[in-house]
């Protein structure tokens, strides 16, 4: 073979090799580009899904599930006592599934809607629209928890409440239809808050009890309700609040048409860490009064009257060793609560009720908790027997096991 032929063959081989390598490389780059483009497209889609937009919709909520074992002993004024034992998985106070829908437009409008399956019924906890008008001024309309005290608005959710049951008698004035203005404002080193609502109001029942009137008002009078809160320390550890409510409660064109009811309340909230323990103190006192009225005895339809005043209160303390080294220990919380509830003497629903609850909670996360609560309740009837009231005393011991989670 001549050198020229050899060189020619080498050149041809080199050329063919280069072309082949280039083709293979070109195919590899194309495949890599294609994968990259697909990845970029996927990322762009993800970004598009979460990029800031004027409207935002989300679902949160809570679920609470529990078990209660109860022993109740009723002692009539004379005769043998009766003992009733029950145990149950979900009942009215211990089961709740409440998804909450939050829908906002920008940072000015917020719609809150919370349907709730509780006690075997489907209800609505709140359905309202808030407009953030200016710093320290939120205007709200719809069906909302009234600004009275702290329990109903802030502490009633199962994953927040340290003890399984709700304190007796604190539920009023509850939720109502109307409008509200509220806000939180600085005050030097302190802070204060206000909330005032105008709503349909409460309804006076034939036996003198009060309940929420509902979407159709029972009279033409509206009810004013409000709360003023003060946080005197710069670290917001203490909050003191006063609340008031006034409005006509009697049904229009009924014997109660001129009846008015007044409520006032005070509340306290103190949360502070004294290393290694977090101390949490909460309390509320409510008092309600309805004008003197003539009520009808259900037994013989004659008229009778009583001083229609009720009061309810709770005081609660809980401690949690948040700085403990052991995870098991720092997730435990010990809670105690005292409850006192008095309904009008000589009404057919009069009673003096008190309750002590002690509970040990285990926090599975910041928003899920397993609770063990033991409660002793004592109720003495102050009811008017001739009006159908039931005399005697009732002592009840309840053991609750409850799991609650915020979703």
């Amino acid at each position: 073979m001549t050198p020229v032929k050899t060189i020619t063959r080498l050149m041809i081989f080199t050329l063919v090799s280069s072309v082949t390598t280039s083709i293979v490389n070109a195919q590899l780059v194309t495949a890599a580009d294609s994968a990259l483009i697909e990845r970029v497209a996927a990322l762009e889609k993800q970004v598009a899904d979460i990029k800031p937009a004027e409207s935002h919709f989300m679902v949160v909520g809570l679920a609470t599930f529990g078990y209660v074992s109860s022993t109740s002993k009723y002692k009539p004024p004379s005769g043998p006592h009766q003992i009733i034992k029950t145990n149950s998985f979900p009942d009215a106070d211990r089961y709740e599934f409440s998804p909450m829908l939050l829908w906002r437009h920008g940072t000015k409008w917020l719609l809150e809607f919370e349907p709730s399956y509780t006690g075997g019924n489907l209800e609505v906890n709140w359905a309202d629209l808030s407009y953030y008008a200016a710093p320290g001024l939120i205007i709200r309309g719809g069906y909302f928890v009234l600004p009275f005290g702290i329990y109903n608005r802030r502490l009633a959710a199962g994953w927040i409440n340290k003890l399984a049951p709700d304190p007796e008698g604190i539920d009023l004035p509850g939720t109502d239809f109307g409008i509200e203005v509220s806000g939180g404002l600085p005050l030097g080193n302190m802070k204060w808050s206000y909330a005032v609502s105008l709503t349909n109001g409460l309804q006076l029942l034939p036996d003198g009890e009060l309940q929420t009137a509902g979407v159709t008002d029972n009279n033409t009078k509206k009810t004013v309700c409000g709360r003023l809160g003060l946080l005197p320390f710069s670290n917001s550890s203490l909050e003191i609040g006063i609340s008031g409510l006034y409005g006509g409660t009697g049904d229009a064109d009924s014997r109660f048409s001129k009846a008015n009811s007044t409520m006032y309340g005070v509340d306290l909230n103190y949360v502070k860490t004294f290393t290694p323990i977090l101390i949490n103190v909460k309390g509320q006192y409510n008092r309600s009064t309805t004008d003197n009225q003539q009520y009808i005895k259900p037994t013989d339809s004659t008229l009778y009257t009583f001083d229609n005043k009720s009061s309810s209160a709770f005081a609660q303390i809980s401690i949690r060793p948040v700085s403990a080294e052991s995870n098991l220990v720092k997730n435990l919380e010990l809670a105690f609560r005292y409850v006192n509830f008095k309904t009008p003497e000589n009404s057919n629903w009069g009673q003096k009720y008190n309750e002590e609850d002690i509970g040990l909670d285990y926090w599975l996360s910041w928003r899920s908790v397993l609770k063990f609560t033991y409660a002793w309740t004592h109720s003495t009837s102050t009811a008017n027997v001739s009006a159908g009231g039931i005399p005697g005393t009732t002592d009840t011991n309840n053991l609750y096991l409850q799991f609650s989670i915020q979703l």
Binding site: L102, R104, I160, G188, S236
Partner: protein
């Protein structure tokens, strides 16, 4: 159709209270000590007033803005507190 008349005194009272509210809101200022608080401090101080302090990774950026607005109606946070806490949780 039944007509409802609003009494003059009621109108004067509502107007007076509205003016008082506007004056009160505009005259409320925070001290330097409070103004210098960080979002982390406010998160630690305010959330635990009702419940355990939440972790930042519990919700997304947009969700925290919505939740901040919801919590403002419950805990009656000031606007600055709400904004600082949300910024901290979104870091």
């Amino acid at each position: 159709m039944k007509m409802y008349k609003i009494k003059k005194n009621t109108l004067v009272m509502v107007a007076g209270l509205s003016i008082l509210l506007v004056v009160l809101i505009n005259s409320c200022v925070e001290s330097r000590k409070v103004a210098e608080k960080t979002g982390a401090q406010l998160w630690a101080e305010n959330c635990q007033r009702c419940h355990n302090t939440p972790f930042a990774n519990s919700f997304s950026h947009e969700q925290w803005i919505t939740i901040g607005m919801h919590m403002q109606t419950r805990a009656q946070l000031t606007d600055k507190e709400r904004d600082k806490i949300i910024s901290f949780l979104n870091q």
